[in-house]
Symmetry: C2
C-alpha cells in the first residue's frame, strides 16, 4: 500500500507553509501575526521590531517559539537579524540589499555599477493585459516609467515599468529624477510599498526599432527579455516590469541549489 522508497510521497497536495487553516503550530501563528504587523506598517522598513523576549510576553509564548517564527521570516527576507542590536524590517535601501532583485552581472566578474537615465514617466489608462497582471479595476490608471541603465556610455538595459496609479499618487519624473538610490527604496519610503518577492520570466527576443535605438544595437539583435511581476505583502502584485538586456558584456546570473 505504501511505497517504501524515496520516490513515493509526492502525491499529497501539501498545503502551503504560510496558509494556516484550522490547526497550525504556534510558531506559525506567531509568524502570521508578525507578517500582519509588517503589512500594516506597525514597524517600517529599516526599523527594529521588539526584542524576542518582548514579543514572547506580548504573545504569551516562549521566547524560543518567537525565535522560530522570526527565523523563518528572516529566511524569507522579511526581517534581518543583527546580533547584539536587534531584528529589523528588511529594506531595499540598505546597502547590503540594494538591487536585491537585479541579477545582471558583468562578464568579467564583480558587480554591476550602472548609471540610471530616466527617459519617461507618464500616467496612462491601464491596458486590459496590465489590469489583469496588476489586478486593477477596469479603467484604473497606471504609471509608466521608462529608463536606461548604462555602463559608462554604453546602454545595457531598457526598462519599462508599470505601477498602479492610485497607489503611487504623486510619482512623477521630478520625484524619480531627484531620488538617489534604488527605485524600490523610493517606493518604500515615499509610498509605503515594499516589494517582498517577484516572479521573472526570461526569453530571448529580437530588438525592434525602439529597443535598437535606445540600446544602440542593430535591429533584430538578440536581447534578453526579463518580465518581472513584483508583489508586496499579502501576495498583492504592485509592479509589472519588462527589461531588455543587451547581454554582450553582461549576463543574467542565477545560482541553483
Amino acid at each position: 500500500m505504501h511505497d517504501n522508497d524515496a520516490m513515493a510521497e509526492i502525491e499529497r497536495p501539501d498545503l502551503a507553509a504560510d496558509a494556516a487553516p484550522a490547526f497550525s503550530p504556534l510558531y506559525q501563528q506567531i509568524k502570521a501575526r508578525l507578517m500582519r504587523s509588517l503589512q500594516q506598517r506597525e514597524w517600517k522598513p529599516g526599523e527594529a521590531i521588539p526584542s524576542e523576549t518582548d514579543l514572547a510576553q506580548r504573545f504569551k509564548v516562549s521566547q524560543g517559539t518567537v525565535r522560530k517564527a522570526i527565523d523563518e521570516l528572516a529566511a524569507e527576507n522579511h526581517l534581518t537579524r543583527r546580533q547584539g542590536k536587534g531584528t529589523f524590517v528588511s529594506t531595499h535601501s540598505a546597502v547590503q540589499t540594494q538591487y536585491r532583485f537585479l541579477r545582471l552581472t558583468p562578464d568579467g566578474g564583480g558587480s554591476a555599477r550602472l548609471q540610471r537615465r530616466l527617459l519617461e514617466c507618464r500616467r496612462m489608462r491601464a491596458s486590459p493585459a496590465l489590469s489583469q497582471s496588476l489586478q486593477l479595476a477596469s479603467g484604473e490608471s497606471a504609471v509608466q516609467v521608462r529608463r536606461l541603465l548604462l555602463d559608462g556610455e554604453s546602454p545595457v538595459v531598457l526598462d519599462d515599468i508599470w505601477l498602479p496609479g492610485p497607489l503611487f499618487a504623486g510619482l512623477d519624473a521630478e520625484r524619480l529624477a531627484g531620488w538617489r538610490g534604488p527605485m524600490y527604496g523610493l517606493f518604500e519610503s515615499e509610498f509605503g510599498v515594499r516589494m517582498v518577492r517577484a516572479e521573472e520570466r526570461l526569453r530571448a527576443v529580437a530588438a525592434d526599432a525602439e529597443a535598437s535605438r535606445w540600446l544602440a544595437v542593430p535591429v533584430a539583435s538578440p536581447l534578453l527579455e526579463v518580465e518581472r511581476l513584483s508583489f508586496t505583502y499579502g501576495d498583492r502584485p504592485v509592479e509589472w516590469r519588462r527589461g531588455l538586456y543587451h547581454t554582450a558584456a553582461f549576463h543574467y546570473r542565477n545560482d541553483l541549489q
Copy 2:
C-alpha cells in the same frame, strides 16, 4: 554541572579539523561532519541517515544541536526530512526533485513534459577553456553529450554537456539512451557523482547554422543561451553545460525573494 560548550570543545578538539575556522558553533561542526559523511558516501542518495538521537549520541551533543545542523543541510537541499520516517540524502532521482535545476516552463503554465533525444556522446580531449572550467589536468579527457529536448515534435532545447572523462568512465551513448529518468539520477547511481549546486549564466544569442538546424528556427533567430557550471560536494565542478533554449512557447522562470 553539565558541560558548557567550552568544555565540549576541549573534549573534542578534533571536531574543527577540516572546514570550521578554529572556533565555530557546535552545530556548525556537526554540520561539517555530516557533510563529510555525505561526500564520502557513507550514506548514499535516497538512503536514510541515522536518527537525530543516534547522531546526538555518536557526536556526544544534544539532539537539538544535531537538529539545527540537519535543519541547515535540509535548507540547502542536501538532506530531505520526512516526519515519522527519517532524514534522507537528497537525490535527483526522487520524483519531487526531478529536474530540480531546470527552470524551463511552458508559457501557458504547468510544468514541462519534454522528450529527450540523444544526438551524440563522444570522448574528446578537453579544450583549455573546458579544462579551466572543470579544473582538469592538462590533456585530460572529457565526455561530450549533445541532446535535444522536445515538446512533442518541436525541439525546444539543444544541450551540450561536458563531463570529466575519468570521473565518468564507461559513460557512453548506450548507457545514456538506456537510462530512464533524469541524467543527474544516472550520474548519482552509476557514477557516484551528485550535483549539489550550479551556477547559471544567461544571455541572448543569435542562432548559428547548427542551432538553427536542430531547433528548427531560422539562422540568427534569438535564442536563450544558458551556461551552467555544476558542482558536487566540496565545491568541485563536475559538469559544464550549454543549453540553447527556443523561447517561443516556453520561458525561463525565476522566483526572486
